[in-house]
């Protein structure tokens, strides 16, 4: 490290080699970060990642090679780094950071934690662990050409959850099942269908016509017509889709006719739905086959990729997709059979037969509902919420992370910045936009001294299980919540100990005396986090909305004035069920012009270059009018996710 002593003072260099740091994630940013850390003089590094290596990682995750595909990212990353820097002391965990083993004590082993994650759930969790352990955290993300780095320190800065993140756009069940109007509705339907047929069945992922559509007011004549139709269509209500498919031996033609003919004919009987809409057109397998040109088999056979241009980028037509449907059903059927009884397939956008199936099913449905069909390439973007990812952006961001780390280790957290990387120099010719860190938000439901939140829901039809899964785990990011009702008796509603309160799951909140104004004390032992939930009983929530957090209405948040509405933002919520609503390039945030607020002294003390400040250091936040609000918009957009995944949402 001869070279570094030149620019880092000796004490800092010494503390680097002594301190222990944690890197969460060994993907695009993680690989770059590990390299930068060892070459900057960090000696004791622990890295955790639960992912395994995929071919599509190799264009940027340079610690991995083709021979490593399928192996643990953390483990291979460690081995590759050690080959280059044998003196480093690296511990690798092939595990989820949300595993209870990594408790507050574990986090206290580190001087500093650096996130290189791709999903919001894990980001929320690490944020809480670092707050609980009072360890500084550097958070980062990239999406295409854009990137962001920020520093979180308990009591000093905003935490990851201080600013509400826009929630994932979800689609009402009846839009997916009955009245799709955008390609994304058909893609979501096709992904649900995959799970219904080959994967884990989920009651929230129904694909058959929904007779409880609120648009259908009750009418005896309708019901009669539907009852007749129902007799003919393979009994959609009485057996599950999977059982039915299995009973046909996954016969592709029967499946095709059920999904694209019978179910559609059934939908047509709900004529109220089609008064204003264009009615869907059922497809018949035999009719379509008459359209199949002799050479189509070749055209769509996956092995026969020839010529220029991506096969992926062609749109095949109804006949082509019917063929693709039948072929992919056959492939998936045999994959499922090979796995043995009771096995399930997991949908993965990088798994060709699974992607073929979704492409075919989504396109057929789009055709039925008079939408323009899309190429496999576009559908993959939407279905997988793919965020483009390149080596260059990750290299830039990882470089910035280590510089922020050096400031923290020099005791200069105040000098740290939130830094945004633009696609190209902005009108003020800045590629990077550093902003001062904001103080914690007093109302934050995570880092406030006594976190409190108010939730509107209907106590008569909200199940205890829904409170646990949808509100406490999904919305408030807890891992294993305990809930006590503040009713003077301290009734335990939910216990994280197995076997204690499962019986409560299928009861409604009102069964336990919870009503308007009730207060629930929620604890997550692992996260060392207590949240007080005020319940507001509400009977007129919107259709398909189960609950609403007061003061957290992203739809009503101010949106930037210009053409922002079409634009997507990567938000890192891999775990949420709903994918993107648009195939457009993600996260083009450049048009939100940030007033660059960092025109002050070089923050020299960081690197121990003592320079006299000209005395014109200013508080960044109120330096210029409008600055705070401009920046706020930018910050409201959550951190982008490196790579894959599953994280684009529409900000509209």
């Amino acid at each position: 490290m001869v070279q570094l002593v030149g620019s880092l003072r000796k004490e800092l260099a010494d503390s680097l080699s002594a301190c222990r740091v944690l890197v969460v994630g060994a993907g695009g940013i993680g690989c770059e970060l590990l390299k930068n850390l060892v070459l900057t003089g960090f000696k004791n590094i622990e890295v955790i990642d639960l992912d395994i290596i995929d071919v599509s990682n190799l264009n940027r995750q340079f610690l991995f090679q083709k021979k490593h595909v399928g192996k643990s990212k953390a483990q291979v990353a460690k081995e590759s780094v050690l080959q280059f820097c044998p003196t480093a002391n690296i511990t690798a965990y092939h595990d989820s950071i949300m595993n209870p083993e990594y408790n507050v004590e574990f986090f206290r082993n580190f001087m500093l934690v650096m996130n290189a994650l791709d999903n919001r759930a894990a980001r929320n969790h690490v944020n809480r662990m670092c707050l609980a352990a009072d360890i500084p955290l550097i958070e980062s993300g990239t999406a295409g050409y854009l990137g962001q780095v920020t520093v979180i320190k308990k009591g000093l800065t905003e935490c990851y959850e201080c600013q509400p993140k826009p929630t994932q756009k979800t689609f009402p069940g009846c839009t997916i099942r009955n009245t799709p109007s955008e390609p994304i509705h058909c893609i979501v339907w096709a992904k649900y269908l995959f799970n219904q047929l080959f994967g884990e069945e989920d009651a929230d992922q129904e694909v058959s016509p929904d007779t409880a559509d609120p648009e259908l007011s009750w009418n005896p004549a309708d019901t009669e017509a539907r009852a007749t139709a129902s007799d003919q269509d393979g009994d959609i209500k009485r057996v599950s889709t999977k059982d039915w498919a299995r009973s046909t031996g996954y016969d592709a033609v029967k499946l095709f006719n059920k999904l694209f003919k019978d179910d559609i004919q059934y939908l047509l009987t709900m004529d109220k739905l089609w008064k204003k809409r264009k009615a869907p057109l059922p497809l018949d397998w035999l009719e379509i086959q008459k359209l199949v040109p002799a050479n189509i088999q070749q055209l769509t056979c996956p092995q026969e990729v020839t010529g220029t241009g991506l096969k992926d980028q062609q749109v095949l037509g109804v006949a082509g997709y019917s063929q693709l449907f039948s072929r992919s059903v056959e492939t998936l059927r045999s994959m499922l059979a090979d796995k043995g009884d009771g096995a399930e397939l997991v949908w993965d956008k990088d798994d060709p037969p699974a992607m073929d199936f979704v492409t075919a099913a989504a396109n057929l449905r789009m055709h039925i509902f008079s939408m323009n069909m899309k190429s496999r390439f576009d559908i993959k973007s939407m279905a997988g919420n793919i965020i483009p990812a390149i080596a260059t952006t990750n290299a830039v961001i990882a470089g910035l992370i280590v510089l922020e780390a050096l400031k923290i280790l020099s005791g200069d957290v105040e000098q740290c910045r939130t830094i945004f990387l633009n696609k190209q120099p902005n009108p003020r010719k800045k590629l990077l936009v550093p902003c001062a860190l904001d103080p914690p938000s007093a109302n934050c439901y995570v880092c406030a001294s006594k976190p409190e939140v108010t939730v509107k829901l209907n106590v008569h039809n909200t199940l205890v299980l829904a409170l646990q899964d949808k509100i406490l785990k999904e919305k408030f990011g807890m891992v294993a919540p305990d809930v006590q009702i503040e009713d003077g008796k301290g009734t335990i509603l939910i216990s994280s100990e197995e076997g204690e309160t499962e019986a409560n799951n299928s009861k409604f909140l009102s069964d336990f005396g919870i009503r308007h104004g009730s207060r629930l004390q929620v604890d997550d032992f692992l996260q060392d986090y207590t949240l007080l939930v005020n319940v507001i009983h509400c009977e007129d929530l919107e259709k398909d909305v189960e609950f609403e957090v007061v003061g957290d209405a992203p739809d009503k948040a101010p949106t930037p004035p210009s053409a922002q509405e079409d634009k997507n933002v990567a938000n890192g919520n891999k775990d949420s069920a709903e994918p993107s609503t648009s195939s457009k390039a993600p996260a083009e945030q450049d048009d939100v012009l940030i007033v660059d607020s960092d025109e002050e002294e070089p923050s020299s003390s960081t690197m121990d270059v003592r320079m006299e400040s000209g005395g014109h250091k200013r508080k960044l936040h109120d330096a210029e009018t409008g600055e705070a609000s401009a920046k706020r918009q930018r910050l409201d957009q959550p951190l982008a996710a490196d790579e894959e995944d599953d994280d684009i949402i529409a900000l509209d």
Partner: protein, 511 residues
């Protein structure tokens, strides 16, 4: 072998999936056909190459005569302990090559003596005359520096933000006019009415507006509001007289402002048309200029003053049939226009450029030409951009001072054959020596600016070190510029980029 090729292609598509979504198949092809040369495999150098090898550059050649030192191993990921003493170009090539078997890695053992200024200026003028882009990259302590030197770089796909659609509603071409005529909004049924594309709606109400307003286009805010109101009145009413929920009409109203932008050629493209390269077409003229000229001919002779039709329309609420018909009208017109341009190309030259004209015509409105100043111009006392330097030095702690400091340490090197502060025991005396260099630089260029002593101390303390994390940043940024240049997509910076790793700020200057 066809099958092998097909399989290779498929596996490449999979490997490069995440980047194809940024620069497309043709961008990837350009990248795979490119050969870059790296001079000196320093930490910054190998970081840049790493970021080009991973996405699949065709080939690289490293030129370096140094032997690998312990220092190199300390900050360069692609040099390891057991390569100490070996040729640095060879050692780095071997490890970089491991990153991607699709890339051809080469090296030349050749000493490039790094008297920085001298070498850059010489190399710069050779490459300038050959019109080969030259990117000078440097990590000096906590400062990153890049300088792009290219006489002319032409960009077809500049990927502008917020580009307007090319709909020609102010001057509809014949086929579009006929298609608009085929719609009868009053006479059609409810279902068709609410599935008519908004482009047709706006066009229909424009006709109405013209007849009521003396054939004047709605121009100002007030008129546009009135025009929106006119469209709003067209929304069907229910039996009770309340307006129906017609999303396509709402979409039309929302799009009025951008749709009514008059079709015209931007001043940037007009400048390109009027450039001398466009006037004097010879057998040596690059394809870009031949096609630009052909498009200009089209504008003057066939397009009635307008560029070829771009041929794409945005997604909108409509049923498939109506949408596809409308889309085809624009698409076919675009193909027609492109074939006219292609005839011009043919008559301009026997040999046609490599780029296909449809891509060119589609992007005709966004053509960009980047012309950098040469290094000689930057360094010569007569042509130095004094104004830029002086005005940027108004802020004493801006990035410009770092540029002046880099120039000063090079001056130091010329005088002392070493950089300031490389030996700890000399730091103190180097400070005053460096100060002399700063002053002589300012004097030579008659720059009336003040460089704070703090920066002189700071640069002495750097001792020409190359911290890896700064090199990582620079490697990412420089590789990104290289990809822009190679793929001819997006606009590279012009011409100097400075990164301050202390404050995490950057700036670009035209020097």
């Amino acid at each position: 072998s066809k099958r092998t090729m097909a399989v290779t292609k498929a596996s490449k598509d999979q490997k490069y999936d995440r980047q194809l979504r940024l620069w497309g198949d043709h961008g990837q092809e350009e990248l795979e056909n490119a050969h870059v040369c790296l001079i000196n495999s320093t930490a910054s150098g190998t970081e840049i190459l790493k970021n080009l090898v991973l996405p699949g550059i065709g080939a690289f050649t490293i030129v370096d005569g140094h032997k690998v030192s312990g220092q190199d191993v300390g900050n360069n990921f692609f040099l390891s302990n057991n390569s100490i003493g070996r040729n640095r170009a060879q050692a780095a090539t071997e490890l970089l090559q491991e990153l991607n078997t699709d890339v051809s890695g080469n090296f030349v053992e050749e000493v490039c003596v790094f008297n920085y200024e001298h070498t850059c200026l010489r190399l710069g003028s050779v490459l300038w005359n050959a019109n080969i882009p030259f990117l000078v990259c440097r990590t000096y302590g906590l400062v990153g520096y890049m300088r792009l030197v290219v006489k002319e770089h032409t960009v077809i796909e500049s990927h502008p933000d917020n580009a307007l659609e090319d709909l020609r509603l102010d001057q509809p071409f014949a086929e579009l006019k006929n298609h608009i005529q085929s719609y009868d909004l009053e006479g059609m049924g409810k279902k068709n009415h609410s599935h008519t594309p908004w482009i047709i709606i706006v066009a229909k109400y424009l006709e109405k507006w013209f007849s009521e307003h003396n054939f004047q286009f709605p121009k100002n805010y007030k008129e546009k509001e009135a025009f929106k109101q006119l469209i709003r009145q067209g929304i069907l009413k229910s039996e009770k007289g309340t307006p129906e929920d017609e999303e396509n009409f709402e979409e039309a109203i929302k799009n009025v402002n951008t749709a009514l932008n008059p079709t015209k050629i931007s001043s940037g493209v007009d400048d390109i048309f009027n450039g001398e390269q466009c006037n004097d077409i010879t057998s040596q003229t690059p394809a870009f200029w031949v096609m630009t000229r052909a498009v200009r001919e089209f504008v003057h002779n066939d397009g009635g003053g307008n560029l070829p039709v771009r041929g794409s329309i945005p997604d909108m609420i409509a049923d498939s049939e109506k949408f596809i018909t409308l889309q085809n009208i624009y698409r076919e017109k675009a193909m027609q226009d492109a074939s006219v341009v292609s005839k011009h190309v043919e008559s301009l030259l026997q040999s046609v450029g490599k780029v296909c004209e449809t891509l060119f015509c589609k992007n005709a409105a966004f053509l960009r030409v980047v012309r950098c100043r040469s290094l000689v111009e930057e360094y010569s006392v007569e042509t130095v951009n004094k104004d830029a330097i002086t005005s940027c030095m108004d802020s004493a702690d801006g990035e410009m001072v770092l540029y002046l400091m880099l120039r000063s340490v090079d001056r130091f090197y010329q005088q002392h054959s070493r950089y300031p502060g490389v030996y700890n025991y000399q730091v103190e005396e180097d400070i005053s020596k460096l100060k002399l260099c700063v002053n002589s630089l300012l004097q030579e260029y008659s720059l009336n600016v003040n460089v704070k002593d703090d920066y002189i101390h700071e640069f002495c303390r750097y001792g020409a070190s190359e911290p890896h994390t700064v090199a990582s940043f620079l490697g990412g940024s420089a590789a990104q510029e290289a990809i822009k240049i190679i793929t001819r997509q997006f606009v590279p910076f012009n011409n100097t980029f400075i990164y301050n790793a202390m404050s995490q700020t950057t700036a670009t200057f035209q020097l």
